[in-house]
């Protein structure tokens, strides 16, 4: 299958000029509808890789291409536009906007891309329904448990109908029950809606959810395991 996301010889050094290579040389392709799990010990460069794939950070060398658009050719606004239109993010610390209700958090990405009010209302309701959070629509993040917040965050990441959802340790701040619930949600969207996922986790138990497990060590990809392969 033709990849929608491709990283070539990706490297990132901290700090930019003379520092150490947190990510040395990573090549990675993600196909439409794929569920990729990035695993590896803490500090091996998983977050660095995901940030680069999401256009949140600039590589020191190499490039990322999303549907044929090279990130290196884009300015900051161009990258923001890619994030706004093509990508969804789920973070370890949920990172809902504290001033907004669950509903408003979910609708924000849609407002950013200028959907109509009616469309936003409809879509927000169905997304909250899909993650089982309709009954908390009017609540602010402070009034929600960690698991509930992360469900809302998942709904938010789906709001702009992204090509790919990038999730960095989405279960890292949840107990195992809630963590599994979130992974189940991911699996459901992956299987029912053919939603593409790149999920970072150091939990080896999550390998079963993925089509492919990318193992990293010390800034390089060591092995790529395919399900059933």
């Amino acid at each position: 299958m033709k990849p929608i996301l491709r990283a070539t010889a990706l490297g990132r050094r901290f700090p930019a000029g003379e520092g150490v290579w947190a990510l040395k040389k990573v090549d990675l392709e993600v196909a439409q509808g794929e569920f990729v799990l990035v695993a590896g010990p803490s500090g091996c460069g998983k977050t660095t890789l995901l940030n680069l794939l999401g256009g949140l950070d600039r590589p020191t060398r190499g490039d990322v291409e999303l549907k044929g658009t090279a990130f290196s050719k884009l300015d900051e606004s161009g990258l923001a536009r890619i994030r706004r239109r093509e990508l969804g993010f789920v973070f370890q610390f949920f990172n809902l906007l504290a001033d907004l209700t669950a509903e408003e958090n979910v609708s924000l990405p849609m407002r950013m891309i200028g959907l109509s009010k009616a469309e936003i209302a409809l879509r927000t309701a169905s997304l909250l329904e899909a993650v089982g959070m309709s009954y908390r629509a009017k609540h602010t993040p402070f009034e929600l448990s960690g698991g509930e917040q992360q469900r809302v965050a998942v709904a938010r990441s789906l709001a702009n109908n992204p090509l790919i959802i990038l999730a960095d340790e989405p279960t890292g701040n949840l107990d195992s029950k809630n963590g599994l619930d979130i992974m189940e949600l991911f699996r459901r969207f992956n299987q029912e809606k053919k939603q593409t996922f790149v999920v970072v986790s150091h939990d080896p138990g999550f390998a079963e959810y993925a089509d492919r497990v990318v193992r990293m060590h010390d800034g390089v990809v060591t092995t790529i395991e395919r399900k059933g392969g």
Binding site: P15, G17, N51, G54, L56, D57, E76, S77, A80, R81, I82, R83, R84, R85, L87, F89, F91, F93, N95, L96, L97, A98, D99, L100, L108, P109, R111, M112, I113, R156, N160
Partner: protein, 424 residues
């Protein structure tokens, strides 16, 4: 050092770039999206934001209060002779003292804005020697508390004690004028009421025959005639309550008293301030300090409120908000506060000045330029308070913000790598 200069230059060019019509149009387009967000953010931190507004507002209040008293003292620098110890917001008319001052030095009365017209003259009356006060209807000196209604044409009010001693009743005639060898020169007025109660303790009204200014002018006009026993005023000062308001009166005064030098109204506030000192007078230094302190106070809180929300703003960026949009978001919050503070400050300042003016003998008043300067204060504070935090955030990358990293004025230059200033 080079990093700092670099940052300043970039800041300036960035600001100019933000003013580009294309960018302004973009901001106008985005405002409907971010306005409610900014409003929400301000409302969610109501107490803190009220305090910011209050800091700015009180800066303006103090500024206005100080400005008013500078005008007052500027106008008050010249010596005040005993007979002129009056509420300071009055128009002096027909001053006739042994050591009359040239009119140009009549700075003791404050200029334009809140002034009244009156005439005060120690006359001979059928009740003895009394002050005569001429007032215009609606005069501020006419408080109304415990006073009978304002006299009509040909009527006077007399102090209750004087009336009792002289056995005059309502409707009786009282002669007011000047007793000379050739006889009495003056006119007879009908007693329309008595000044008693608290008003009787008033230094001005409790001790005088009060009549309409027009009546007094007519009476005094005899003084302009050669050989008249009435003392002719050699100096006339007319202050206008509103520019143009007193044209008619002024015309009459100059007709009636052609020999008196007329000094009228409308000493511009600039002249009053000039009288208080040069450009760098202590007054101006204090005012500038107030500016800076209010601005810094607002700035500090805005900055703090931004620093506490780094992560949130980073998330907004990660979700695809462009740098300019985050800038706009923070700018809008600043606009809310600056607008609130300015309204608060102008209202509070006007109120304060009004109150102090009533309470003090030194005249206090505000000119239009004071309000303009107060608004300049609001804009400068807003600029200081919102623009730097907004700029810091505009330039930081989403992951810098989400990780809560320190922000440097220029994150992509040597400035951030040096880091010796500690950033924000």
């Amino acid at each position: 050092m080079i990093g700092l200069v670099d940052a300043l230059v970039r800041g300036l060019t960035g600001f100019l770039r933000a003013l580009h019509p294309r960018n302004l149009a973009k901001m106008a387009r985005l405002t409907p999206l971010y306005f409610p967000l900014a409003a929400r953010s301000v409302r969610r931190r109501l107490l803190r934001n009220l305090l910011v507004g209050l800091a700015l507002g009180s800066g303006i209040i103090v500024y206005l209060g100080l400005a008013a008293s500078f005008h007052g003292t500027a106008a008050n620098t010249s010596r005040r002779t005993e007979p002129l110890v009056l509420p300071a917001d009055v128009l002096a008319f027909g001053i006739d003292l042994p050591d009359s001052q040239p009119v140009d030095s009549l700075k003791w009365v404050a200029p334009a804005g809140a002034f009244e017209t009156f005439d005060r003259w120690q006359a001979s009356t059928s009740l003895g020697t009394l002050w005569v006060v001429g007032l215009r209807e609606g005069s501020r000196l006419w408080s109304g508390d415990g006073l009978p209604s304002f006299p009509l044409q040909g009527e006077v009010l007399v102090p209750a004690t004087v009336a009792k001693a002289g056995k005059v009743a309502l409707g009786d005639g009282v002669k007011v004028g000047e007793q000379a060898r050739s006889g009495f020169a003056g006119a007879t007025f009908r007693v329309a009421g008595f000044v008693e109660g608290p008003a009787a303790a008033d230094a001005l009204l409790g001790n005088a025959v009060v009549m309409r200014l027009d009546d007094l002018l007519a009476l005094r006009s005899g003084g302009a005639l050669p050989g008249s026993p009435l003392p002719a005023p050699n100096a006339v000062a007319v202050w206008e309550r509103q520019p143009g308001d007193n044209d008619r009166l002024l015309g009459r005064v100059t007709d009636l008293f052609p020999r008196a030098s007329v000094w009228w109204s409308d000493l511009p506030a600039a002249r009053a301030l000039a009288a208080a000192g040069g450009f760098l007078s202590p007054g101006r230094v204090i005012l500038a300090t107030v500016f800076v302190l209010a601005g810094l106070g607002v700035f500090n809180v805005m900055l703090l409120s931004l620093l506490q929300r780094k992560v949130q703003l980073g998330v907004v960026k990660a979700l695809g908000a462009e740098d300019d949009e985050v800038f706009l978001l923070l700018l809008l919050e600043g606009v809310f506060m600056a607008a609130g503070g300015a309204v608060l400050g102008v209202l509070g300042g006007s109120f304060l000045v009004n109150f102090l003016d009533r309470a003090s003998e030194v005249p206090l008043f505000l000119s239009g330029s004071d309000f303009i300067w107060a608004l300049v204060l609001a804009v400068v504070s807003f600029y200081l308070a919102a623009w730097l935090p907004a700029t810091l955030c505009r330039r930081a990358s989403p992951i810098q913000l989400m990780a809560g990293r320190r922000l440097y004025v220029n994150p992509r230059s040597t400035c951030a790598q040096c880091g010796r200033c500690g950033g924000f």
